[in-house]
Amino acid sequence: MTIEEIQKRIEMGLPGSQVEIQDPYRDGVHIKAVVTYNGFQGKNLLEQHRMVYATLQEELKAEIHALAIETRSN
């Protein structure tokens, strides 16, 4: 699964979100998703991260090794 696919999957799952995927080690494995989404408003951190994880449910079981998440709302 490519970085672009992960980005697309999150954006589809959280319509209107802006997703930036960072690959600090340039290995395509230890990646970080910075997600800006208005729907995070009023949710605590746990809920926000669960919303992002939910868009990648199947991928997290197998294909994604390490995904860091940072959530923001406008």
């Binding site: 230890h30 746990l46 991260h49 449910q57 997290l60 390490a66």
Partner: protein, 103 residues
């Protein structure tokens, strides 16, 4: 989820007020994210216990379902799931981790 597995996980979480499921041990973490949480806990002087999920596949898979959280590490304080690596580090940065771990 099997009752036996669930109660095993619950008793681990209840065994110490601050409890961490991690890959490896605090002395020798086997994953960068687990290492990050250990060092955050140590830097606030938290007295915590941990379980190495690499030593037990059933717990490794079980806690994902238990917490409705797909990744490891998982930090629990007073029996409550706090979060994984990113949330713990964010709480550390904001100073909240220090308050939470004062038990």
């Amino acid at each position: 989820m099997q009752e036996e597995l669930k109660s095993k996980i619950e008793s681990l979480i209840q065994s110490k007020e601050i409890f961490l499921f991690m890959k490896g041990t605090p002395e020798a973490p086997q994953c960068g994210f687990s290492a990050g949480v250990v060092s955050a806990l140590k830097s606030v002087g938290a007295d915590f216990a941990s379980f190495n999920v690499l030593s037990d596949m059933s717990i490794r898979d079980g806690i994902k379902e238990f917490a409705n959280w797909p990744t490891i590490p998982q930090l629990y304080i007073k029996g409550e799931f706090v979060g994984g690596h990113d949330i713990t580090l964010q709480l550390h940065k904001s100073g909240e981790l220090q308050k939470l771990t004062k038990v």
